[in-house]
């Protein structure tokens, strides 16, 4: 797969915006203006991929929500990018009735059903605009790609397919079916966009297995249907020389601890502390404003920052631990300052040297060249400054939170719990310490201890619960986790976190001595030894076909086989180079980062490419809320 999933999705969107004609690279194309109308899902898909400026360059003058009040703008073609639900189709029919636009290009995010197509047809006949409906396309883009190798399914409507919806006690079969269909549809779109048919493996006995079965069936039907198959060889000619990728479907119940883990890498910290949504972060900045009363009053202002694909600093640093990020920001700032000084010195040189006539000409040649290069590089410099400011602000905000909540201590403690090494402080001390962290943090720590730590008797657990309630925590998630522990095979789980460790090196002396803005005194410099989370271990075992007791009885599906092979004996004997990991029920950046690190470490011996997807990205506090709701039921 030469182009990444993200690029393919972006190309598909751009082609769609070019009235579904392939984009030619002429020197300057005649602009054709158009209006883009999307619904919530369309908005979530487009916003990480195309900025407003790029939309303008493609000729999109206005972008509007489907269900907002739209005025009639005749003589302009309109492109719809919506899901084919009943509401949306009815709204489109109303638009036909009101004759809002000149010509309509309808693009449905997933395939539209026959019934709704007929609805559209009858509406267009009724309002007499059949000729205006120029094209209708099924785009199969029903997923959100946030990074080159990270995709999720839903953002604005995630309640429907969250962990809570899947695991609550009173879920009906029909509802489950609906959720499964949604997930299968999205995974199907992912593979259609890539043009490959994967080999599917999943655990037994949970939601992931159901998804795997349905997906297998859907892919098989589509491959069989020679006329309309979406996987024909017109995608990329070299397709068959590549090996087929592996799709690993996992259920969230495999590993709850990772969801609640405190983290130390930049992107995951931003997600946990600052609630990174669709690659965007919102920070409250307080600035002092002098009021008429005379005393300065701090005024809070919300600023939102885009952490986009084009930001090189972000691409490099998003997986690094926090102190590295602080240093890197400092370095960038210094580099920027030297460049700025160079430009400023030009000004002085020009002013001084202009007086002498003799050397004027020789100086002039140098200086004009320098000036040209300086003027040309000015926009780049300004952009760089903006990025540095942004990262400085984000890092400062993160640092504040880390210091007030003592997140470094939590991280250290949890890592030790997960790797079963000796601890400095016991759980009890941390929980009763009123300064360390919010109640949520304490509950998270305790649950991780419950899952991965040494076995605790019921009495001890009750003792902890009392201490937690005194500290003001909500202990309903703990009820749920206890129940969950009883259901799942918990003997296997603790062994899955091993192999890691932590070494802390006390005060961060050299950062302080650098006189940087990030005064990290009191924050320990934690050097994280890499260890594999359960997800990574399973993927490793499946890709390299190692025999690992947990994955021995994973089901095997190959949609390209003629008959549905219910015996599910793995036929493929060679190790896989590419893998898609999909977690049903929610995922987060910690798992993603772990997989990325694993792929990088393996790239020396055997290059591997791993994509991570989940039904929605939840950070720990949101997941905790879901657990609380589940706990209250029981």
């Amino acid at each position: 797969m030469a182009a990444t999933l993200r690029e393919k999705q972006a190309t598909a969107l751009k082609r769609m915006l070019n009235f579904n004609a392939p984009i030619t690279k002429a020197t300057s194309n005649e602009p054709q203006w158009k209006i883009l109308v999307y619904d919530r899902f369309g908005q979530d898909i487009i916003s990480p991929l195309l900025t407003v400026k790029e939309l303008r360059d493609l000729g999109v003058t206005l972008h509007l929500n489907l269900h907002s009040d739209r005025d009639s703008i005749p003589d302009v073609p309109v492109i719809y990018f919506v899901m084919p639900t009943d509401d949306n189709v009815q709204r489109i029919c109303r638009d036909f009735e009101n004759q809002l636009y000149e010509s309509y290009y309808l693009n449905f995010i997933s395939a539209i059903s026959r019934q709704r197509l007929e609805d559209l047809a009858s509406a267009s006949i009724q309002y007499n605009c059949v000729s205006q409906v120029s094209k209708i396309y099924d785009q199969y883009l029903n997923f959100i790609s946030l990074e080159d190798d990270l995709f999720t399914l839903r953002h604005q409507d995630r309640e429907a397919i969250s962990y809570y919806a899947l695991n609550r006690g009173d879920v009906k079969d029909t509802e489950m079916e609906v959720i499964m269909d949604v997930i299968v549809d999205s995974l199907f779109s992912v593979f259609v966009t890539l043009g490959v048919v994967p080999i599917i493996r999943s655990a037994r006995g949970n939601a992931a297995e159901m998804v795997a079965e349905k997906l297998d069936k859907k892919l098989r039907e589509n491959v069989r249907d020679a006329r309309n198959s979406l996987f024909t060889a017109d995608s990329s000619p070299g397709q068959f020389s590549f090996q087929r990728p592996l799709l690993v479907l996992l259920d969230r119940n495999l590993d709850l601890a990772t969801m609640l883990h405190h983290t130390w890498t930049y992107q995951a910290l931003a997600h946990d502390v600052l609630d990174l949504k669709q690659n965007r972060v919102e920070i409250e900045e307080s600035s002092n404003v002098a009021t008429p009363a005379g005393s300065p009053r701090p005024m809070k202002k919300k600023k939102s920052y885009d952490l986009s694909h084009s930001d090189k600093f972000w691409l490099i640093q998003k997986g690094s631990p926090f102190p590295t990020v602080a240093e890197a920001v400092q370095e960038e700032l210094d580099a920027y300052r030297t460049q700025e000084d160079k430009v400023k010195s030009l000004k002085a040189a020009m002013g001084i040297e202009g007086a002498e006539d003799d050397s004027a000409i020789s100086m002039l040649s140098d200086n004009t060249a320098k000036l040209t290069s300086a003027v040309n590089s000015l926009p780049e410099l300004l952009e760089k400054k903006r990025l540095i400011d942004m990262h400085t602000n984000i890092a400062t905000a993160l640092l504040e939170q880390v210091k007030t909540r003592k997140l470094d201590i939590y991280f250290e403690c949890e890592e030790k719990l997960m790797s079963k090494s000796v601890q400095d402080k016991t759980l009890m001390e941390l929980i009763s310490d009123p300064e360390a962290g919010t109640p949520d943090d304490k509950v998270r720590l305790f649950i991780i201890g419950l899952i991965c730590g040494p076995h605790m008797s019921e009495a001890e657990i009750d003792q902890y619960c009392v201490a937690l309630t005194e500290a003001g925590c909500d202990i309903t998630p703990i009820q749920y986790v206890r129940r969950w522990k009883a259901y799942a095979k918990m003997t296997a789980a603790p062994s899955q976190y091993g192999g890691g460790g932590i070494s802390s090196t006390g005060m961060f002396a050299n950062l302080v001595s650098k006189g940087s803005q990030f005064v990290m005194e009191g924050v320990k410099n934690l050097v994280v030894k890499r260890h594999n989370l359960p997800t990574t271990r399973i993927v490793d075992a499946l890709m390299d076909l190692k025999s690992y007791q947990d994955v021995e009885d994973y089901r095997y599906f190959d949609p390209k086989l003629l008959r549905a092979d219910s015996s599910s004996v793995p036929r493929n004997k060679s190790p896989f180079q590419e893998a898609f990991v999909f977690v049903v029920g929610g995922g987060n950046y910690i798992e993603y980062q772990n997989l990325v690190d694993y792929a990088k470490s393996k790239s020396m011996t055997s290059p591997k490419k791993i994509w991570y997807g989940c039904s929605d990205l939840v950070n720990a506090s949101q997941f905790l809320k879901q657990l609380a709701r589940l706990g209250q039921e029981g």
Partner: protein
Amino acid sequence: MAVDVTNLFKATVKSVKSRNKAIGENAVNDKQNILSRSRQKGDFESKAKEVITNITQLRDFLLSHRKEYINSGSHLSSEASKMTDSERDQIDNDAQNIIRTCQESIGILRLDLSSHRVHPQVKEHRQIVIFLMNEYLKAVCKIYSEQKAIRVKRAVDRKNISKLKPETSNSPVNNVDLSSLIKKSTDEKGSGDTDKSSNAQKSIRPEFDHENSLLPEDEISPEESQMFEEENKALYDEMNSMSHEVKQIEGKVIEIAKLQEIFAEKVLEQEHEIDHIASTTVGTTENIIDANEEIREAIKKKAEFRVWILFFLVMCALSLLFLDWYNG
């Protein structure tokens, strides 16, 4: 990988129509609305499309003639260039006229926009349409100015070649031999080694003959040829250094012109801001003047109020005294 279901839709439309006919719904609508189908394109749209077609025509014209425009012929004049200079100038003038008219029409459209009262969405849409048109015009202008710059540069180079000056990097291949020979002769300038220089001159001579085959070669005595050679050399060196400087200055002037353009652009951008700031300042001064007035009024009223209070107190005291006197 998107699937085009337009055909499916059209088939569905047909089937629904036939179904409706079968059920007997009235198909009266068809006839009436076919006539009114000719939608009137709004003024704005048609004007905008006109401007765009103009710009596109200009662009196509520039691109189609680009090759001939740039090809100023090699130095040997063996290939006659397909365009004379006057034609090129005409192209330049025409292009500039068209660009100016397009800019004016875009300006007119912008004024129109503020005068018409339409829905805010329509207004925003039109503003962005005007913006896109401007960008397109800028891109086409860039093509034009690039072409022109290349042409000017080639002309300058050509002049240099025909005067047998040391070459810059953009010269055609043939002149490399010439330039290396000439460089050799300049190197030998200081040594005063006439042999080598005469050699160099002799080897240059065949090239000269090839170019300008009219140089009379016979009937020159050795002394005269020596003198001529010395004279040649001196003249040649003098011209060489002068034109070297001139060429450099030309290059710098072009660069400065480019810079000027960039600065002018920036300044124009800032003009708008400055206007805004100026009007705000005027408003502010007026506000401050009003505020001063108000303060003055307030002070006056305060003074008056005090007077009245004093008066009232004095009256009360007097009345008390009076009552006291009355009773006692």
